[in-house]
């Protein structure tokens, strides 16, 4: 009975749970402060995050029961060419699973990390809203719905980066991030107006059905460049990446993990979706390949001279986005399979690396690699988890990072772009240089001067070790996630007819 009401809503179920849950958090916090049990809001946040992960499976069963595996959500019978809609296919479900999974792990970490904080209500509510914004971006079926949820994701992430406002570091990073990212929002709006001028509606299905084979004219080149600038600032493509090292290293540690793990990749997903709906892959293969080469190279080279652990991980994120762009530029289903698999793997590995860095900062207060010598004696579980994450990011066989990097580099050869594979292998070698530098500093025998440092609190260590176990297990038995990712990539290329037919049908 309740399930029938919940399944006939105009929102997909995870999005509805996160939105309603985040609105209830201030009410619960006021009531619980009056009664005197201030831990109720932590339990409520945990409940909302875990319910959203469970509802992904409910949405999966709903999707399997729908014709052609595509669901369209609309409100009050407003038909798509004029009204906004959500359109869920396998690709949206895969990205939603990544977002909810990392969101749940970060929420559990936050409950133990931010115990002593004054504005905890606003923090939990904004965390739920940033996850809701990302879910709205991946579920959107209409360009205006994508823009509204893009602004929700952006506004909440500006505030969360600048959350610790008692020091100057977060405020400066948040201000620079706000200026650059809002400028990109104006460019996205300009691209929406050009698309409206060409076709007369903003729905993804109507755009794909009419714009797909159009001949190139100067207006289309302008549209392509505006789309790259608009979506590229948030997804850290190279001339537009300069906000990223400051924002990732000065944000609170759970927020760094969430942003680096999945928010940048959601922006890359939106770019992929829009490009594959409007243009033929042969149009954008060369420009996106040039951006991939530049992004990989700059990220890896600039990471070689970093001494701060979080800044090194931030530059390494830019390099990983470069690897994902290799997959986008191929235009094959195999290349896209590599990109989406790498998005999921990177969210686990980079998220866990930032959370382990948070453990180290919480216990020792150090962020400099040279001051972390011999940490393995005092914090063994965190150090081993961090070493597993760094080896996974470098692509060592046995971790899931190896599988996705292998697929990406071999798909570059399959698309007749062998130069991308050569530069990719060189970059993997350069990246192992700075990862191994961190590993050697952690395993050094010379010991810490102050050896009274204990292991981090139980929940924080538990989350990092759970993610390390998942990295190893998914490296040896990757079949469930491989099937999921290949369904997702097929639904973007070959499932386009079904996507159009579900709305215009």
């Amino acid at each position: 009975m309740v399930m029938d009401i919940l399944l006939s809503l105009p929102f997909p179920l995870p999005l509805f749970i996160l939105l309603v849950g985040s609105v209830c958090i201030p009410l619960i916090s006021i009531l619980s402060d009056k009664i005197g049990t201030p831990r109720v809001r932590s339990y409520w946040t945990l409940l909302v995050a875990s319910l959203s992960l469970v509802s992904i499976f409910v949405l999966y069963t709903q999707l399997m029961a729908a014709p052609n595996n595509i669901l369209v959500f609309q409100i009050w019978g407003q038909l798509p060419p004029l009204g906004g809609c959500f359109e869920v296919d396998m690709l949206g479900l895969f990205m939603a699973f990544s977002i909810s999974f990392l969101g749940l792990l970060v929420t559990i970490y936050t409950i133990s990390y931010m115990k002593s904080e004054q504005r905890l209500t606003e923090f939990y509510s904004l965390l739920m809203l940033v996850m809701a914004g990302m879910l709205g971006v991946v579920f959107a079926g209409d360009m205006l719905t994508l823009f509204v949820f893009w602004e929700m994701m952006s506004i909440t992430s500006y505030i969360l980066v600048a959350f610790l406002k008692d020091t100057w570091r977060g405020i400066e990073a948040g201000f620079k991030y706000l200026i650059m990212s809002s400028m990109a929002g104006a460019f996205i709006l300009l691209s929406m107006s050009l698309l409206y001028g060409f076709t007369g509606s903003l729905n993804f299905a109507t755009l794909a059905s009419t714009l797909k084979g159009a001949p190139l004219s100067p207006w289309f080149i302008l549209l392509f460049s505006v789309i790259i600038v608009g979506f590229g600032v948030k997804s850290a493509i190279v001339p537009l990446h300069t906000w990223l090292p400051d924002a990732y290293s000065e944000a609170p540690d759970p927020i760094s993990a969430l942003l680096a793990g999945i928010a940048t990749e959601t922006a890359l997903f939106a770019l992929t979706r829009v490009l594959y709906l409007i243009f033929e892959p042969s149009v954008f293969m060369i420009p996106v390949a040039i951006f991939a080469i530049a992004t990989m190279s700059l990220g890896n080279i600039l990471a070689l001279r970093q001494d701060d652990l979080k800044r090194l991980l931030a530059y390494s994120s830019i390099a990983q986005i470069g690897y994902m762009l290799i997959g986008v530029s191929t235009g094959l289903a195999y290349g896209l399979f590599g990109t989406f698999l790498h998005i999921f793997n990177h969210s686990l590995m980079k998220g866990m690396a930032f959370l382990a860095a948070g453990n180290i900062t919480h216990q020792t207060g150090q962020r400099n690699i040279n001051n972390m010598q011999g940490l393995i004696k005092m914090m063994p579980i965190t150090t081993i988890s961090l070493i597993i994450a760094l080896l996974g990011l470098g692509g060592v066989p046995g971790t899931n990072g190896f599988i996705s990097k292998f697929v990406l580099l071999s798909s570059a050869i399959g698309a007749n772009l062998p130069i991308l594979a050569v530069i990719g292998v060189i970059n993997v070698a350069i990246s192992m240089a700075y990862y191994l530098r961190v590993v050697m500093a952690l395993l050094n025998d010379k010991g810490f001067k102050n050896s009274k440092i204990g292991e981090a609190p139980l929940l924080m260590v538990g989350i990092t070790s759970l993610m390390a176990v998942l990295i190893i297990v998914l490296g040896i038995f990757p079949n469930p996630i491989l099937g999921f990712a290949s369904d997702a990539s097929k639904s973007l290329l070959e499932g386009l007819k079904n996507y159009i037919g579900a709305v215009l049908g």
Partner: protein, 104 residues
């Protein structure tokens, strides 16, 4: 109404470049937010321009999109102003050339 297309689209381009120039050249933080607002208004004007190009009537769909995006842009500017208040509390000045303590 074909003959009003060229002046409006040229003014969209002019507003976009004026806003972008404002973001690059100005050194006061509030002027940066003004430049951002000018760029958002350029994109909204582009929507209005393309809505007049139907022959015979004006399409109300584009103007409803503009009504939604004006509200969203106002929210972004509000958050930016709250952040500028905090910048002033730490740096005692609004000169963005002083916001250079985070290097490399």
């Amino acid at each position: 109404m074909i003959e009003t297309f060229t002046p409006l689209i040229v003014s969209v381009g002019l507003l976009l470049s004026i806003g972008f120039l404002c973001l690059i050249v100005k050194i006061d933080a509030i002027r940066l937010l003004m430049g951002l607002e000018i760029m958002f208004n350029a994109a909204n004007l582009a929507f209005i321009t393309f809505s007049t190009q139907q022959s015979g009537f004006v399409d109300p769909y584009a103007q409803s999109v503009v009504m939604i995006t004006i509200v969203l842009d106002g929210a972004v500017i509000a958050v930016g102003l709250a952040m500028i208040l905090n910048v002033y509390k730490h740096y005692k000045t609004l000169d963005i050339r002083k916001l250079r303590r985070l290097k490399w």
